[in-house]
């Protein structure tokens, strides 16, 4: 649906040149919700603006729905833009128009008749749940309601693609949730392709299928959300994910002295990660029953990435060295992620 081929963007200004995008290749398939995450200044805003050519790439080509945009004339580009909806962090509604008139705006631009506009706007108002607000002005609405108007406006011309520029960054967590819910429903109902940029991993986790991490104008990591979340490769990615799922040891363990090899009387510390069905597997109770060991759960969480359960546990196993080795071998045959954190010697048993 969307192909970005080797996109570069260089800004020339009086204070020198800024290389905002340094060769971005990206493919977004029909019906996908594609998230691009990055810190501010990473180039994500520029990138999403290249998709509808609000920013003209210095190099490279942009193809949306089989149409290359980079070679079009101004007029042809305007026609193509009508097939690409966009919503913004600060909503960008026309303050002089009512909710109804704001949603009607893109339809007016598309030269639709009054009757068509009326039918379409009323339908959209119901879709976003604002039918009772149609004659209000944006200033009278809450942030979430404004974004709903923005979404309705973006959908008015039945676009193939919806671009979301930090669409939830100005909203509180609850409103964010409801807006994301709405986007997800729209994606399902119309099989609409959505590209969103954000700095919040939560947003990616809630609704995206695919994620790309952008840093310094490069895409440093890209893949299915579940894969990137469970096996992040780059440090920046890990940092983003740690806001939701901690891959680091909790601070509580910082003053424990860990060693890579076992010493007599030391306990084995393991991190187990579960994805999908294995999250429901009663691993801990089964190892306790099978082997002569004790297990303490030191830290853990289970979360859902969309509908797939995903969790990590940090456990400390104590027992005879041979039992510990056997347990480890057993665990390795299970459908789990296992990481040996190290061996820890305790003077007293863990009491908490």
């Amino acid at each position: 649906m969307i192909t970005l081929d080797n996109i570069e963007k260089i800004y020339e200004s009086d204070n020198g040149t800024v290389h905002a995008l340094k060769g971005i290749n990206l493919t977004v398939s029909q019906g996908e919700i594609f998230g691009i995450i990055g810190t501010s200044g990473a180039g994500k805003s520029t990138l999403i603006r290249c998709i509808n050519m609000l920013e003209c790439p210095t190099k490279g080509s942009v193809t949306v729905d089989g149409q290359e945009l980079t070679t079009l004339s101004e007029k042809e580009l305007r026609e193509q833009r009508k097939k690409i909806g966009m919503i913004f962090q600060h909503f960008n509604l026309l303050s002089s128009r009512t909710v109804y008139q704001n949603i009607a705006f893109p339809l007016e631009l598309a030269k639709r008749s009054k009757e068509e506009i009326h039918t379409e706007v009323m339908h959209l108002l119901t879709l976003v749940g604002l039918a009772d607000k149609k004659d209000q002005y944006p200033a009278q609405l809450s942030g979430g309601q404004k974004q709903r108007v923005g979404i309705a406006r973006a959908l008015a011309n039945h676009p193939k693609v919806l671009l979301c520029d930090e669409a939830t960054s100005a909203l509180d967590p609850q409103t964010t949730k409801s807006i994301l819910e709405l986007l997800k429903n729209i994606n399902r109902e119309f099989n609409l392709t959505i590209v969103l940029i954000t700095h919040e991993m939560q947003v990616i986790k809630e609704i995206c299928n695919q994620v790309a991490v952008i840093e310094n104008g490069y895409i440093i990591e890209q893949g299915k959300v579940l894969d990137v979340f469970t096996q992040p490769k780059e440090n920046t990615t890990k940092e983003f994910i740690s806001s939701i799922i901690s891959h680091n040891l909790p601070e509580f363990f910082a003053d424990l002295s860990l060693s890579a090899t076992s010493t007599p009387g030391s306990n084995l510390m393991l991190r187990l990660s579960f994805i999908g069905n294995s999250a429901e597997d009663p691993v801990i109770s089964s190892i306790i029953r099978r082997f002569d060991i004790d297990a303490s759960i030191l830290h853990g969480n289970i979360d859902h990435i969309q509908s797939t359960p995903f969790g990590t546990l940090i456990v400390e196993l104590s027992g005879e060295q041979s039992s510990l080795d056997e347990t480890l071998r057993y665990l390795q045959t299970r459908d789990l992620g296992i990481e040996v954190i190290g061996y820890v010697t305790r003077h007293a048993r863990i009491t908490n």
Binding site: N52, L54, K75, R78, E79, Q80, R81, K82, I84, M86, F88, H90, N92, L93, L94, S95, S96, R97, F105, P106, E108, L109, A110, Y137, P138, A139, R153, N157, L163
Partner: protein
Amino acid sequence: MSQDMLALLIKSLWETTYMVAVSGMISAIIGIPLGIILITTNKGHILENTALNKVLGVIVNAARSTPFIILMVAIIPFTRLLVGTSIGTNAAIVPLSIAAIPFVARIVESALKEVDYGVIEAAQAMGASPREIITKVLLPEAMPGIILGLTLTIISLIGYSAMAGAIGGGGLGDLAIRYGYQRFRADIMLITVIILIAQVQIVQSTGDYVARRLNKK
């Protein structure tokens, strides 16, 4: 006050109103598009053209920095060319308009500058042409500011129109000078001043009211 005096007062009031209304209209008709060009040809705006922007900016500034009394005298040949005479109410409309056009242009420019660029970007993303952005986004969004600016223009024109009396333009200012000052008619002086104050008050209140009604922010 005599019947004659009253007739003279009414005639002067009409002249002032006529001069201000016509020159206000002309300055709006030319000044508003000029203001639109000034903002949209800015760097990074929808019709970027920095050369045109600079040239217009210099012309507007030059016109604005000329004191009205000098402008009025300096353009007498031009006025004569346009209306056939350099004396009278119609002749006064020419310098009044020329003084007000750049004023309106700058005021419109600054009102349009207040429109959040994000809204323009949103319109661009929806496929709006520059023309549609101007007529459907910039002007409606900036309308309260433009109305207040035009109010200010009209009030300035009322003040300037008094000076136009110096070249035989007529109007209340002329009356105040000729009768109130030169013939020591304090009553005439007082009444013209009161009328001028009332005029300004009415214009300002009307402008405020309209701008407030249009402002949905």
